[in-house]
Every structure is written in C-alpha cells, then in structure tokens.
C-alpha cells in the first residue's frame, strides 16, 4: 500500500516537473512547481520527515511561490520566447545525467543492495516525535547556526526592500517619527465638562 502511494506521488511529481520545463506560459510553470512541491512534501511525509514536509508547504508554497506569482503578474511578459540553441549544449544534456545515473548505481551496488526504507523506519517507537527531536537538536547543538540563519533572513528582508523601494511618492501617507515621539497626552486628550 505504502509503495503504491509512493509510486503514484513520485510519478505525478516528476510529471509536473517535466511540465514545468516544457511549458512556455510562466503562470502554468509556477502552478506546476507548486504541485511538485506539494507532491514532494507527501513523499517526505512517507520518509518520516514530518516537520520538513510541513515547512516545505508553509515556506515554499505559502511564501516563495506566491512571490513568484506576484513577480510573473507584475512583469507581464508578453514577448515571444524563442527556443534557445539547444544543439550547442547537447553534450551537457546527455553526459551529465548519464554520469549521475552511473554514479547512483555504482554507489547503490557497493552499499548493501537489499536495503528498504521500511526496514529502517520501523525501528521508531510509537511516541517518536520528529519535531521534538529536530527541535532538541536545533536548539542545543546547532543553536549558533540557527541564529545565523535568522540573521540571514533579516539581511534578505533588508536587501529585498532596499532594492525595490522607490522612495516616497508625493502625497502618500507615512509615519512622522519625530512628531510621534514628541506627542504628549495634552495634545491628544481633551477633557470637557
């Protein structure tokens, strides 16, 4: 049963990924990438990485792909995109996948060849909690890296805003911080008899 689910979702995910690289419409590409993420997160669930599967859906489908959709909407690309010179690059397209296939099978044959994922996953007890284990590791041994990742996200926010900010437009509303600090209760509150 688990195997049927795995095959179904992996074939569907690969089909969606193929559709992504073959389509010419950018909106269709974004939607198929969203489908690929959701289906791959189901495969991650089968592999018992529950926290990361949920993170993939929340971070990627919820934030990054919506960003992509916004950019595709904003840029409004209407120019006809011609096919590139595929002929010039055919050695890469053929030899790199072939090399990777050979590498995978070589690694697999030199490992124990009848390993199944199920036989490993059964070892967990019933009250095993992936999120708790991950959090324990993240907040103790990898605390410093975790802080650095947070700092990196802050840098990303500042970079994205400062790159796209075009300055104040004439009659737009914005905070006047000096005015806000200097305000006192007398200016705001009037007592009337």
């Amino acid at each position: 049963m688990k195997q049927i689910i795995f095959y179904f979702f992996s074939f569907f995910a690969l089909f969606m990924a193929l559709f992504l690289i073959l389509t010419k419409n950018s909106i269709h590409a974004v939607l198929s990438l969203i489908f690929t993420f959701i289906l791959t997160s189901i495969i991650w669930l089968i592999l018992e990485a529950e926290f990361l599967a949920m993170t993939l859906i929340l971070v990627y489908v919820g934030a990054v792909m919506v960003l992509f959709l916004f950019v595709v909407m904003m840029l409004d690309i209407e120019e006809v995109i011609k096919k590139s010179k595929f002929v010039k690059l055919w050695p890469f397209v053929i030899f790199i996948p072939m090399f990777l296939f050979l590498l995978t099978f070589y690694t697999y044959n030199h490992d124990s060849s009848s390993v199944t994922i199920n036989s490993i996953l059964i070892q967990h007890s019933v009250d095993y909690n992936n999120m708790r284990e991950l959090g324990t590791l993240l907040y103790t041994r990898y605390l410093f890296s975790f802080e650095i990742a947070g700092l990196l996200l802050l840098v990303g926010i500042i970079a994205a805003i400062s790159l796209t900010f075009r300055g104040k437009v004439g009659n737009s509303h914005y905070q006047n911080i000096r005015k806000q600090i200097n305000v006192s209760s007398k200016n705001r509150l009037k007592l009337k008899n």
Binding site: Q3, F6, Y7, S10, A13, L14, A17, L20, I21, S26, A29, V30, L33, T36, F37, I43, W44, L47, E48, A49, F51, L52, T55, V59, Y60, V64, L67, F68, V71, M74, L75, I77, I81, F86, F92, V93, I96, P97, T104, Y108, D111, V115, T116, I117, N118, I120, L121, E133, L134, L137, L138, Y142, S145, A149, L152, L153, G156, A159, A160, T164
Partner: protein, 101 residues
C-alpha cells in the same frame, strides 16, 4: 516495500529534470530560477532519504538550513529581477550583458 533505489531514482530524476530545464529555458530567467528550485528540492530529498536511512537527524537539520538560505536567495533574486525589468523593460538573459562578464 519502498526500496532505497526507488527513492534515490526519484531524487536523481528530479535533479536531472531541473538541470535539463536550466539548459533548455535559457531565455526566461523566471523559469531558470524555478529550475534552480527544482534542483534544490532534489538535493533536499536526497538528504532526507539518507537521514531516515541512517536514523541520523543531522541531514534534516541541513535541509532546514538549505530551505532558509534558498528562501533568502530567491527573494533577493526576484527583487533584483524586478529592478532589472524596471530599468531595461526586458528580462531576456541575452540582453543582460552590460557588464561584459
């Protein structure tokens, strides 16, 4: 029973599709960024496969950090893309050769 080679082949084919997409769509930079996401997804899947194979959670920690860094990278890249489009009215890669790199 899901065997190891099935999972590895899934990640490998996902990686190859992403790589082929980078070679294939060399005009549209948005599709190029999406193919990059596909490649990262394949790498993350491989990390998770071997993390659950060895019962070692450090692979999943690594995937967590890859997700964070990829999110930052994509948001900055899209900001740069919007800025380039504002200035040059096109996002065709072959026109982005002003630096002569």
């Amino acid at each position: 029973m899901i065997t190891l080679i099935d999972c590895m082949l899934f990640a490998l084919i996902l990686f190859i599709i992403g790589l082929t997409g980078i070679f294939f769509n060399r005009k549209n930079i948005i599709t190029l960024l999406m193919c990059l996401e596909l490649v990262l997804l394949a790498v993350n899947t491989n990390f998770i496969i071997f993390s659950s194979l060895s019962g070692n959670l450090e692979g999943q920690i690594f995937v967590f950090f890859i997700l964070a860094v990829a999110a930052v990278e994509i948001s900055t890249g899209l900001a740069i893309l919007v800025m380039v489009f504002r200035q040059r009215k096109t996002i065709n890669i072959e026109n982005l050769n002003i630096l002569k790199g």
